[in-house]
């Protein structure tokens, strides 16, 4: 008989990696959500729909071209176009009204996108094939995990670093940060803030779409996937602090782990885990981990 820890440690490690993979997917989704909120003051309930559209666009692109990597490149671009169109036609007229109208409009969009997907791709659960390059499994510290998950983790972390560089180190990033801080003032400085709004919205949609394609081989595509991923993504944004990139990363990693370990250790109440984590964090920091203080 071996010591229980011999099995326990690799198991925990493997679960932690699973949680990390889920976390970086949430991160890609929540970055857009938090930037869009920070800058446009819009709680974009349709953000999960972009995740769904990304997955389905990827599905079709892979079916047509047979190339997963092409889908990773093109599907987010297609979703970005849809996002830009939504921002231009639906959201722009609403900026002068309260946040409620935008919440309701994006809620209506969930119906529209979900039904469009059902119409075009049917309501069946579809799985996206794992790219051949990462179809094997690897053993890390005694834990066997699909190499695709490792790829997702590395890809997500690289994206996080790239996003950080973009937002913190470039002129464009400075404009975005300024817009999040005070969009009116930014416009006053001679920046075409409307173009930045459209760009940020499209960029956020593209990241959500990217998350959808990448998630495809792990969590197959089905029409209500957008509405169901939205709630964890919103929780990530609240936990991390609205409008904060750092918070979005920290929140995703925390929620990813909470969800994964909840499923393993508390199977009967696993769905409750992320809400408990959120409630605990909000109790001590109402503005979220990296949010600006309230009021």
């Amino acid at each position: 008989m071996s010591h229980p820890l011999v099995a326990f440690v690799p198991d925990v490690f493997g679960q932690a990696l699973n949680g990390l993979a889920y976390g970086v997917l949430l991160f890609l989704l929540s970055v857009g959500l938090t930037l869009i909120f920070g800058m446009l003051d819009v709680v974009n309930l349709a953000h999960g729909s972009y995740y769904m559209l990304g997955a389905y666009a990827g599905l079709t692109l892979i079916a047509v071209t047979g190339n997963f990597w092409l889908a990773v490149l093109v599907a987010p671009a297609a979703v970005a176009l849809i996002g830009a169109a939504v921002e231009r036609t639906c959201l722009r007229p609403l900026y002068r009204r309260g946040p409620l109208d935008q919440v309701l409009l994006t809620f209506g969009l969930i119906y529209v996108f979900e039904d469009l997907v059902k119409w075009i791709w049917s309501g069946r659960i579809r799985s996206i094939p794992t790219p051949a390059l990462f179809s094997s499994s690897v053993t890390v510290f005694g834990a066997t995990i699909p190499s695709y998950r490792l790829f997702v983790i590395v890809f997500g972390l690289v994206m996080a670093a790239a996003l950080w560089a973009l937002i913190e180190k470039t002129r464009l990033g400075a404009i975005i940060r300024a817009g999040v801080f005070d969009s009116e003032m930014t416009a006053g400085m001679g920046i075409n803030i409307h173009r930045v709004f459209t760009g940020v919205f499209a960029f956020g949609a593209a990241l959500a779409g990217l998350s959808g394609v990448i998630a495809g081989p792990i969590q197959s595509a089905y029409p209500p996937m957008g509405a169901s991923i939205l709630v964890p993504a919103l929780i990530v944004v609240v936990v991390g602090g609205l409008g904060s990139l750092k918070g979005s990363l920290a929140g995703s990693l925390i929620i990813g782990q909470a969800e994964t370990f909840g499923k393993v250790w508390l199977p009967g109440t696993s769905m409750l885990m992320i809400y408990v984590v959120m409630a605990l964090i909000l109790l001590f920091r109402p503005q979220g981990l990296f949010g600006r203080p309230l009021r």
Binding site: V43, F107, Y111, L242
Partner: protein, 332 residues
């Protein structure tokens, strides 16, 4: 209340004129309301089962939407977690009715449970406002969803099924006509209660908080206590709506807690026009009729429904009542 004297605009502005103006405006409303009630009461006599069920569904969702409008339209609290109380009411009623099908199970217990849930959720949520309030209430209702979805004693994914309708004073409500009257009586009671509340000094304070929370605080109102009380009242009425829903359908599932249920109620309020209780009922009717009509013609009802909402938000910000007021000149 020691600070009663300083309330702005709390009393009638011109005591001599007010009663007469009020009467002339009240009469058509009372007549209209009574006529509506009479039509719905007599509806099973000349309509088939399906239209009757549709009307009953509208009434229940209308009450649910109205209870949300009390929070949104009057107290200015946009809650995305109102489904929590609808679900709590539904589940408590379903479980209690299976044990003993009486009025206590059908009304009292669900209302109390929903009130307790609203007190707990409200206690934490009213400390924040705006988007944080939306998120917090959404998360709380999702907690209930998570519990209901996984708890075996609540029937997990399937929920509670085979819920009997109660017997009231020895009168079995299993018959459609009997249930219709019972439902209508409760809905009318809920409407009158909410109407009374928004017209009372309490309702005026809520409107004051909506308009300017800081000023109400400065004037001396314990704003948070008012908001919490409004939240509990809204939650209780929503619980009764949930209970009625469980009795109508004969089952309740975790979907009742889902955040999209709150979203649908929000849409009903908005479609009708926020801050107008009657509008919420109108919005519920529009939502449910649209859903049933469109879904009988085409499979793509979600698409059409969604597009309708998008267009309504874009082009009719005041809701149906807002449009009517603008075009026909109906006053508030």
């Amino acid at each position: 209340m020691t600070t009663r004297d300083v309330r702005p605009n709390a009393g009638r502005r011109s005591p001599a004129k007010a009663p007469r103006r009020r009467n002339t405006r009240m009469i058509p409303r009372v007549v209209g309301f009574a006529a509506l009630v009479a039509i719905v009461a007599a509806f099973p006599l000349f309509a088939g089962n399906y239209p009757v069920k549709l009307i009953q569904e509208i009434l229940i969702w209308g009450v649910f939407a109205m209870s949300l409008d009390l929070l949104m339209g009057y107290a200015g609290m946009v809650s995305f977690g109102h489904s929590a109380f609808f679900g709590v009411g539904g589940y408590v009623a379903a479980l209690a009715l299976l044990k003993s099908p009486g009025l206590i199970s059908a009304l009292l217990l669900p209302a109390l449970a929903a009130a307790a849930a609203a007190l707990a959720i409200g206690f934490f949520s009213i400390r924040v406002s705006g988007v944080y309030f939306i998120m917090l209430t959404l998360a709380f209702s999702q907690m209930f969803y998570a519990v209901a979805f996984q708890a075996a004693w609540l029937g997990a994914e399937d929920g509670v099924v085979g819920v009997p309708r109660p017997a009231v004073l020895g009168w079995n409500l299993a018959s459609p006509a009997g249930f219709n009257l019972y439902l209508l009586a409760l809905v009318v009671a809920a409407c009158l209660l909410l109407y009374r509340i928004v017209r009372s000094p309490f309702g005026h304070v809520l409107r004051g908080i909506h308009d300017n929370e800081g000023r109400m605080q400065a004037v001396g109102y314990p704003v948070n206590r008012y908001k919490l009380l409004a939240f509990v009242i809204g939650g209780t009425v929503a619980g009764v709506a949930g209970s009625l829903y469980a009795q109508l359908v004969g089952s309740i599932s975790p979907d009742a807690f889902l955040w999209t249920t709150s979203g649908e109620a929000l849409l009903m309020v908005i479609i009708g026009g926020t801050g107008t209780l009657g509008g919420s009922m109108l919005g519920a009717a529009a939502f449910i009729l649209l859903q049933s009509m469109v879904s009988s013609y085409t499979e793509r009802w979600m698409l059409i429904l969604g597009l309708t909402f998008v267009l309504l938000v874009l082009f009719a910000p005041g809701g149906i009542l807002g449009v009517l007021r603008g075009r026909v000149g109906i006053r508030s």
